[in-house]
Structure formats: structure tokens, C-alpha cells
Amino acid sequence: MSNTTTTQAVSESQSETYGQFVRRQFKKNTMGMVSLYVVFGLAFIALFADFLANEKPIIASYQGGVSTPVLKGYAVSLGLMQWTTEETQRDWKTVTYDWVISAPIPYTMESVDKTAISLKDRAPSSRHWFGTDDIGRDICAGIIHGTRYALSIGFIAISIALAIGVVLGLIAGYYGGWVDILISRIIEIVISLPTFFLIITIVAMLQDTVREGRIFLIMSVIGLTSWTSIARLVRGEVLRVKTMEYVTASKALGFSSMRILFGHVLPNSIAPVLVSAAFGIATGVLIESSLSFLGFGVPPTVITWGSMLFRVKASINAWWVGLYPGIMIFLTVSAYNLIGDALRDATDPRLRQ
């Protein structure tokens, strides 16, 4: 028996870790991959929103010099540079450039097209691809800039919910006894609160004190009220997993509680939680949209997809005002749900294809 060759065979064939396995399985799920690319696309839009929709040109040569107004905009917001008085007064669209590379959508979400007044002028056209809202703001620019909020609301809210829910669920399920009783009662108390009205109340109460970071307040409140379902799910899964004989085996092998909890119990309980988290992101986006639609969300100066839907009330005949943000919300929510489904299948080696 040549020991070296067999050793090599093992190290080669066993190069696949669990993470690689999950990735390989996930790639086989077409809907999951498409959804993942949708989310990547949204992330790209969110990241480069200023380059995609901006009334300032990206690079332009005018008045005998080359400048990059979009990048300068970042520098200004970081406090590194100042706009000159002439620049703040300037209407970038009327400047005559030697040559220019401008953003594909030459509007920001704040820029108001004063010529778009009649319903006909505000309808989707070559000037405004998705039309404008009742005061002449470009819908497409709003959607592009709103992507940032849509993505960050989902992620931050669900991160808060996961951090609280997974830890409490693990502790309750694994240690049992009075710890479990205490945590379960807390979960039941929080569940019995009407979440949506609680959020409305908190936002209404803090409306005057929190102005700048209202969007973060909403994210936190969504996160702090939606961890209960995750905690219950984790608790139930842990209760199931901890009676498995491999947990007894781990104890008999002298593994520490932390290793058993995070190395054996958690990985076997987490798959339904990931699915639930993906749904949670979707719910977070929906809650924000609902709040903004009702007028309790972000202040009017911040454009989110939900607050764009809110503008439908001001111009009920303009179908495009509600349609495009609605499509984006639907697309995002569906993508997260499908990713959750694909993830659930991929994390289970028994469903290996």
C-alpha cells in the first residue's frame, strides 16, 4: 500500500469545502442565479447612481479646461472642495461644452423640469424615459437613486433582526429551562405588538427630533420589530437538531459548547433562517414602501420607491408614476424570495443534484 498516493488522492478530491459545495449547488438553480444577477444589477445601480442619473456631466471640457463635476460633487460632500459661486448658479444643461460625456439620464432626483406641466408633457418620452411626477421630477432618476435606499433598508433591517433573532433563538433552544421560558415570553410579547402601527407611532413621535437620519430610524425600527419570527424559527430548529445523535457524539468527543453550538447546531439550523432572512429583506422593502406611501416614511426631500408611489395620489391619471416604482419593488422582492428558495435547496446536501 503506497501511503503517499492515497494521501494525495484525498487532498485533491477533498478540496471542496462546504462553502464551495453550496456555491456549486446554487449555480445549478437558474431562477436563483437570475435573481442573484438582478440583485447584483441593483447593487451596481445603487453604487453608480450618481454616474447613471445626474444633471452634471461626468467629464466635460468647457471654458478651456477639462473637469469632472460628478467626482467633484463627491469631494464637496466629503468637505474636501467647495463649489464656486458661479458653479452653484450654473444650469449645467445650458452650458456649451467643447466635448462632454454626460450621464445617460441627465436628471437628478431633485431636478425639476419646469416645462413638464401638462399630463402629455409628463408622460414617458425620449426626454423622460419613465415620465415625470406631478412637479416634474424624472421618474427614472428617482428609481436609480432610490435603489440605494431600497437595498440598504432591506440589508440593515434584516441584519439587525438576524443578530437579535439568531442569538436569542440559539440560546433559548440550546440551553432550555428557564432561559427558554424567559426568551419565549419576550418573543410572544413582541409578536403581540402590532408592528406596523408601532413603527408609525415611533416614527411619528420622533419625527421632529430625528430629521436627517429618518431613513436609518425606519431601518432600525423595522429590524427591531421583525426579529421574532427568526428567533422562533432558530429556536425550533435548535430544539430539533440538539436531539440528533451527532450532537451527543460531539459531547462525547469533548467538543466545547461553543464549537457544538456554532459548528454543529447552527449550520444545521440556519438553512430555513436564510430563507426567512431573504423574505425578511423583501418585507423590509415593502414596509418602507408602505410607510412612505402613507406619508410616515422618509421626509419629502428623500426619494425612495415608496415615496414615489406616494406621488400617485397627486396625479391619479399618470399611470407611469406608480407603475415603474411598483415594478422595481416587485422585482426586488421577488428576487430576494427566489434567492432564499435557491439558498435553501443549495445548503441541503441531501438535495444534491
Binding site: T7, V10, G176, T248, A249, A252, G254
Partner: protein, 348 residues
């Protein structure tokens, strides 16, 4: 400890082991009773020996195994375990495992290992075979290099008759017998002195049972380990064990060599149990079946005195007085009944 048994050949001594599970009821979850799963069990296991532990389901044999490996307090919080599980080092030092803290117990974890009944739930489905076998090595021999761990995994897989290429696979890709081999490799990885085998073959096909039993027998001879072989299948236990202990309702009723217990059982319960073993010989008619009356009493409310007296064909009024002690009989075996003798028919 100045015991005559402290000779080199004793590995483990279980002394008056009691395991009570409290029963809670009502709104305030008050304790209303105890399930006396194990009620004063004593036995010893010698080095290199297989002790079979048999009995019907619910008699506490699995609980004895889990008490010996000291995982009960983790598995069922609130359980009451008393008695001693004395582990004898080769140099003669004795340690009562039940008195150790979780931290101090860790040093002994590598010396006593366990093989489980259900090959499907005893392996973590998220880990590859290599990870399953390597994890105990990483814990108990942290100074091994990755290559050394790899070599050990290959070596162990070969020892249990699996191809080293299987190391990258996941448990669900294997049959029950192969999974049980993986479980054996995991138990072997820490080089234990004693392996608790909790019905290791009862979930397998008969043909696979024989393979796994023979593998375990081969490994025991090679490594010089001891087995505590918990099972309900008497013929399997007879095949693998040097000595057999028979349990009924939380007590050991008879301990002797395999031949003594299997061919010449003495305790009324053992006689009844063995008469129920099917004999694959249609011509043989002489065998007398002893059919016990009634059901096994609940361990929550055991009969006074001898636990078997409610079903025993030779029960006497005095049996209700005190639990019978293990009585050394003429051929050296221990039987918990003063009214029977080796080789004599019951009912004298």
C-alpha cells in the same frame, strides 16, 4: 482504593449507578415523580474485553451507556445521576468520571468513545467524511499538522474498510453500513480504551450486521480496546461478547460469561428471555417456551423489593421485602435471585 479488583486488567468499574429522570407536571412544573431508568447497577469491564448489555427496550441499558460516557447531564438537564464510574489508568490511578467537572472530563473524552444506533442521525450531514473524522483529532491532538491529520483520516478509513477517496463525500451518499463504519472511524480517531456501542447494528440489514460485527471484532483485537456492547439481539451479543450482563427494569439481574448466560441461564428473567430467542431448527421441539405474564412495570412506580416479582413464575411473598443482591453462584456468575441455582430447574 484498596480493592482486590484494582489489578491491571480492570478498565472500568461501575458501582451502584443510579439515573433518575424527574417528571414534572402541572402549571408550575413541580416534580411529581422520578423515572428510575437505572437503579443501582454495578459491573466491571476488563481491558480488551467485550461486555454485552442486554435487556428489552426501556430497561435502561442505553442510559447506562450514556451515564458511563458522562453525557447525560448535557442531554437531559435536571437528570439525577449517582454512584461511581471508576476509570482505571494503566498505572493504577482511579478516577470517578461522574465526579469530574465538564472541564476536567474533557481529558477523559478521548479514552471513552461511543458508536450510535442510528447511522443517519449520528453523523452531521453538513460535514464531509474527512471533516467528521478530523474534528476530534484537531481537538485532542492540536499539534498535528494538516498533512498528519490527513494521513490519520486515510489510515482510519482504511482500518474500517472504506476507500480513502470517500473522504470528500458527505454522509448522505453512503449506505447505513458504510455510515456506521464512518461512525466507528470517528470513535477510533481518539484511540480510545473503551467504546460504548449503543445498539450499533440493530438499524442494519442482517448481512451488513455480520460485516460490521466482524469489523468491530477485528478492530478490538488489533487495538486492544474494550467494548460495552448494548443490544437487544441476544445472538449478536453472544457472538461478540466475552461476558454478558442482563438488565431488567433498571437493574442487572445476571452477569456471567457468554456461555454461562446464553446456554445455561439461571435467573428466571434470563431464562424467559432466552427461551424467546427463535431457533432456526424446525425439528427441534424440546425447547420449552417460558411465557411471562403481564407487562413490564413502569420505572416511575417500580414494585417493592425485586423488580421482577410481579411477573416471576417462582415469586415468593418475601420477594417484596428488599431488592435482591447479586449473589455469586456455584460457577462464579452473579445472579440477583436467591431462589435459583445454576443448572437446576426453577420452582424449587
Amino acid at each position: 482504593m484498596s480493592n482486590a479488583k484494582t489489578s491491571n486488567d480492570v478498565l472500568l468499574e461501575v458501582k451502584d449507578l443510579k439515573v433518575y429522570f424527574p417528571v414534572h407536571a402541572g402549571v408550575f412544573q413541580r416534580k411529581v415523580a422520578d423515572v428510575k431508568a437505572v437503579d443501582g447497577v454495578s459491573f466491571t469491564i476488563k481491558r480488551g474485553e467485550t461486555l454485552g448489555l442486554v435487556g428489552e427496550s426501556g430497561c435502561g441499558k442505553t442510559t447506562v451507556g450514556r451515564a458511563v460516557i458522562n453525557v447525560l447531564r448535557h442531554v437531559s438537564p435536571g437528570v439525577h445521576v449517582s454512584g461511581e464510574v471508576n476509570y482505571y489508568e494503566k498505572d493504577g490511578t482511579v478516577t470517578n468520571l461522574l465526579a469530574l467537572s465538564t472541564k476536567n472530563m474533557r481529558a477523559y473524552r478521548s479514552k471513552i468513545q461511543m458508536i450510535f444506533q442510528d447511522p443517519f442521525s449520528s453523523l452531521n450531514a453538513r460535514l464531509s467524511v474527512k471533516q467528521i473524522i478530523a474534528e476530534p483529532l484537531e481537538i485532542h491532538q492540536p499539534n498535528l499538522s494538516a498533512a498528519e491529520v490527513n494521513d490519520q483520516v486515510v489510515w482510519l478509513l482504511e482500518k474500517v474498510g472504506l476507500q480513502p477517496e470517500y473522504a470528500a463525500r458527505f454522509p448522505h451518499e453512503f449506505s447505513g453500513g458504510q455510515r456506521q463504519r464512518i461512525g466507528i472511524a470517528r470513535a477510533l480517531s481518539t484511540k480510545p480504551d473503551l467504546i460504548i456501542c449503543d445498539e450499533p447494528v440493530s438499524a442494519l440489514d442482517v448481512s451488513v450486521q455480520a460485516q460490521v460485527i466482524n469489523l468491530m471484532e477485528k478492530l478490538r483485537e488489533e487495538f486492544g480496546m474494550s467494548y460495552l456492547f448494548v443490544a437487544h439481539d441476544l445472538s449478536v451479543v453472544y457472538h461478540i461478547s466475552q461476558r454478558i450482563a442482563v438488565m431488567y427494569l433498571g437493574n442487572v439481574v445476571e452477569i456471567g460469561t457468554s456461555d454461562q448466560v446464553y446456554f445455561n441461564s439461571t435467573h428466571p428473567y434470563t431464562r424467559a428471555l432466552l427461551s424467546a430467542v427463535p431457533v432456526p431448527d424446525p425439528e427441534r421441539k424440546d425447547k420449552q417456551r417460558i411465557v411471562l405474564q403481564g407487562d413490564i412495570p413502569t420505572p416511575m412506580n417500580k414494585p417493592s423489593g425485586c423488580g421482577f416479582r410481579t411477573r416471576c413464575p417462582i415469586a415468593k411473598p418475601s420477594c417484596a421485602d428488599a431488592p435482591p443482591l447479586l449473589d455469586t453462584k456455584s460457577d462464579g456468575r452473579l445472579v440477583a435471585c436467591p431462589y435459583v441455582q445454576v443448572g437446576e430447574p426453577m420452582g424449587v
